[in-house]
């Protein structure tokens, strides 16, 4: 599945919906005007007044609602009563959830999202947030207890599809707009009450009261009808997205049994997927299973969903009430106390496939979300990282030190001392000593593993308070510029870290993608292609590699390969703002072209990996770690 195209489509769809919505609001304003002119006779004055009043109220209400809903994934999860799972928890059930989410995130190249647990009996899950870098995943206790690992993986894959497809943005807009119309009916209700009250007291102003009552009735009816149809549309859109998410869950995990098994267990469970929390209604479209059941259902019926995945299903549900899943402690690596016990466990683990043994992947596959083998690879990748480092990544203090340690200068010890001094001066005591302690360990792992480490750091780092975050980004900047120059590794790390933590300035709409087309930006793109061609170890045929990429951008174009001197980091940096404004599918084409250039000599060198990783992060396109074919 192509989630870049899906994102573009979601964008187009929401434009259409906004247009339709504007027409509907105008229609509403007109009918209010007609109803009122029945009482006081039509006049231009009345026309403008009702028009401005109705549109003003609806616009205000919609905007307010959209703003409050778009406060980011964290706010949504918290208002649903979820509590944050600590990435360093030792509870086996929680550990298993976190492991599944981590694998999925690293396989799809997104930062590991914070996971919220809701103490609900029903089996359900949700994803919320505007973009992968502020998304959160929520899971109910029922989900943790009643599903096995495979099924949990299916559910998490379903949620990741929502994140990658940009479904949340569309849904938030829809919910906001509907709320604006429903608001009219609330006002109508208030007016009716006021009218009835004042009508009881003062009989003289018959006219005014009648008009008031009429206005109230009209607003009430229009608001209700509008809200009704709006909810129907929202539910229909949402149901389509659910089918899509189910399909991509199968595609990600290559395992239809996982997701269909989870759905079946919901069907055979007395608590189903119901939620107790009162705010569930507002967010019903975000969940895995339907939280409510009515014609406004945002999810297709279970039976239908299962049969789409598994046509030969015999229509029987398992007795979920009796099931309680046992967790394999060994394989979930519940880091005993403080990770001291982990070393002894690793020997008993089954051998994991090494990426070295993998053949080069076709670059078309890479941009299509995680696959079952990439998920396994991600797991193997996580397993290869030394466990003390991994444990540090799972809490805020250590995660910070890991990022610092990666940025220490490995070659020049004089600069390293200055960097340590900077950390010592700016931050809490012992930050510098811990950073120095893990320094050698951090630099002994491969480049791919370093970046997986950074993805792991993303979720605990979001627990930093704004002040701590500011301090952190100041120190990171300081460390990078300590030696008066930015090398490629530093550039790439900076892009990834700042993108994950949303430290870069984003547009107000929170939309990670723009709408500009590729055609006008071919020259901007060529800087990256040239850098990949020159520095990719294809010295002999840089020209060929470059042309291969350019051809994918625009078959008719031929561009002269820029000289190696013009491909500096400053040049790359300069072209980024324009690349960020590309539409999602233009970004996909561009990334495909980059991958083609990088892969021209059948291998992706570390330099190429760094350029690609930094670029993907800077333009908010998740790019998994598995495209690399280490040499």
């Amino acid at each position: 599945m192509d989630f870049f195209a899906e994102q573009d489509q979601a964008r187009k769809r929401s434009k259409w919906l906004v247009l339709l919505f504007c027409l509907a609001v105008m229609g509403i304003a007109l009918s209010v005007f007609l109803a009122l002119s029945y009482f006081s006779g039509p006049s231009w004055e009345l026309f403008w007044l009702t028009g401005a009043g109705t549109i003003g109220v609806v616009a205000l209400a919609s905007l307010g609602r959209i703003l409050s809903l778009s406060a980011g994934g964290t706010a949504v999860a918290e208002s649903l009563g979820g509590h944050l799972l600590c990435p360093n928890t030792s509870d086996p059930q929680e550990r298993r959830i976190l492991n599944v989410v981590e694998e999925m995130a690293i396989a799809s190249g997104t930062p590991v999202p914070p996971v919220y647990l809701m103490e609900e009996k029903g089996i359900n899950a949700f994803a919320a947030g505007y973009s992968p870098s502020n998304a959160v995943v929520g899971i109910t206790r029922g989900c943790a207890e009643k599903l096995n690992r495979e099924q949990l993986q299916g559910v998490v894959a379903h949620e990741f599809s929502h994140i990658l497809n940009g479904d949340m943005r569309l849904n938030i807009k829809l919910t906001g707009l509907i709320f604006g119309i429903v608001c009219l009916s609330r006002i109508g209700e208030v007016l009716l009450r006021v009218g009835l009250l004042s009508g009881g007291r003062r009989r003289k102003k018959e006219d005014g009261t009648a008009a008031l009552l009429a206005l109230g009735v009209v607003l009430l009816i229009i608001g209700l009808i509008g809200g009704f149809f709006g909810s129907l549309i929202r539910a229909a859109v949402s149901r389509q997205r659910e089918f899509l998410a189910d399909a991509s869950a199968v595609q990600f995990t290559r395992n239809p049994d996982g997701i269909s098994g989870a759905l079946k267990r919901i069907g055979g469970y007395s608590a189903g997927s119901k939620l107790e929390t009162s705010t569930a209604g507002d967010f019903s479209h975000m969940f895995f299973g339907s939280a409510l059941r009515s014609i406004f259902a945002t999810h297709p019926p279970l039976e239908k969903r299962i049969r789409k995945i598994e046509p030969s299903w015999n229509e029987t549900f398992p007795e979920t009430d009796q099931i309680s899943e046992q967790i394999d402690f060994q394989s979930e690596n519940t880091a005993g106390f403080a990770g001291l016990s982990k070393a002894s466990q690793s020997s008993s683990k089954p051998p994991v496939p090494q990426t070295d043994a993998l053949e080069t992947k076709s670059f078309h596959d890479i941009l299509e979300g995680p696959k079952s083998d990439t998920i396994d690879q991600a797991r193997a990748l996580i397993d290869r990282i030394p466990s003390p480092l991994l444990n540090l990544c799972r809490e805020p203090f250590g995660a910070r030190c890991v990022v610092f340690a990666l940025l220490l200068d490995p070659a020049d010890s004089r600069i390293r001392d200055q960097q340590i001094q900077l950390i010592h001066n700016q931050l809490e005591k012992d930050t510098d000593s811990l950073t120095l302690k893990i320094f050698s360990q951090c630099h002994s792992i491969s480049c791919v593993e370093k970046f997986a480490l950074i993805e792991e750091c993303a979720s605990p780092m979001r627990e930093l308070s704004p002040r701590q975050l500011q301090q952190f980004s100041r120190v990171v900047d300081g460390l990078i510029t300590m030696d008066q120059k930015i090398d490629l590794f530093e550039w790439s790390i900076q892009k990834v870290v700042f993108n994950h933590l949303n430290l870069e300035e984003k547009s107000i709409s929170h939309n990670p993608h723009g709408s500009s087309a590729l055609a006008g930006q071919v020259n901007t793109c060529s800087v990256f292609l040239a850098a990949l061609a020159h520095y990719g170890g294809e010295k002999m045929n840089a020209e060929d590699a470059f042309n291969r990429g350019v051809k994918l951008l625009n078959p008719k174009n031929t561009i002269q390969l820029p000289t190696i001197e013009s491909c500096t980091i400053e040049e790359l940096e300069k072209s980024l703002p324009r690349l960020q404004k590309l539409s999602a599918s233009a970004k996909r084409t561009f990334l495909t072209a980059c991958l083609a250039t990088a892969e021209h000599d059948q291998q992706i060198s570390e330099t190429e990996f760094l350029i690609l990783r930094g670029l993907a992060a800077a333009i908010s396109c998740p790019l998994g770690p598995t495209f690399i074919n280490p040499t």
Binding site: S68, E78, H83, C86, A338, T431, E463
Partner: protein, 200 residues
């Protein structure tokens, strides 16, 4: 007639604006409160890890410090006390009583642990014990993590309190059950030490 309608529409819009502001304030209060409550869970995990390490420490030390039984007893007691205070505090983060209880218990535990480490200096065998060295390092590194998460928690509490005291939230906060300020979590050892009194 038409002036009635104008007044009504104006009134309607104004009351709607007020309604939305109030809803917005309420939501923001809830969000900020949730934020610091969630920030507490990171402190909880680290403290719990510390409490889990202490029995191991006692086990290791016991063989060497046979005749310091009272000191060891004191540590275990302080640990149990701190653990129950932590449970109370995690039920109600930001509550003045719970925070004071936890800070007090932590202070006692810190003191008792300090005593053990000071005593261990006079047992060369114990100092050479690898397990002891690991535990000591583990304990001190959790302490740093606790201090760091506590800072995040205190920042979150402060921003909740500040928001609550600004205008207009100050008018409605009390009505929505956000009347009480949340309390910061300060540990004894971290407080700025008082200047020593000079006596003549």
């Amino acid at each position: 007639m038409s002036s009635t309608i104008i007044t009504l529409i104006v009134l309607g819009v104004i009351s709607l604006v007020i309604l939305f502001t109030v809803i917005g304030i309420y939501n923001k209060l809830v969000t900020l409160k949730n934020r610091f409550e969630n920030a507490f869970s990171q402190i909880e995990v680290q403290l719990q890890r510390r409490y889990d390490l202490i029995p191991n420490l006692i086990e290791t030390v016991k063989g060497y410090m046979a005749h310091e039984k009272d000191t060891l007893e004191a540590v275990i007691q302080a640990r149990n006390q701190a653990q129950s205070s932590l449970q109370a505090a995690s039920q109600n983060p930001g509550d003045a009583g719970a925070m004071a209880g936890l800070a007090g218990a932590e202070g006692l535990l810190g003191g008792a642990l300090g005593k053990i480490f000071a005593l261990s200096e006079s047992y060369p065998d114990l100092k050479a014990n690898q397990n002891m060295a690991n535990l000591q390092e583990e304990l001190s590194s959790t302490e740093n993590k606790v201090a760091f998460s506590r800072q995040a928690f205190n920042d979150a509490v402060t921003s909740y309190n500040t928001y609550k005291q600004t205008f207009p939230p100050v008018i409605v906060a009390g009505m929505f059950g956000h009347g009480q300020d949340a309390t910061l979590l300060e540990f004894e050892s971290e407080k700025i030490k008082e200047a020593p009194k000079v006596q003549f």
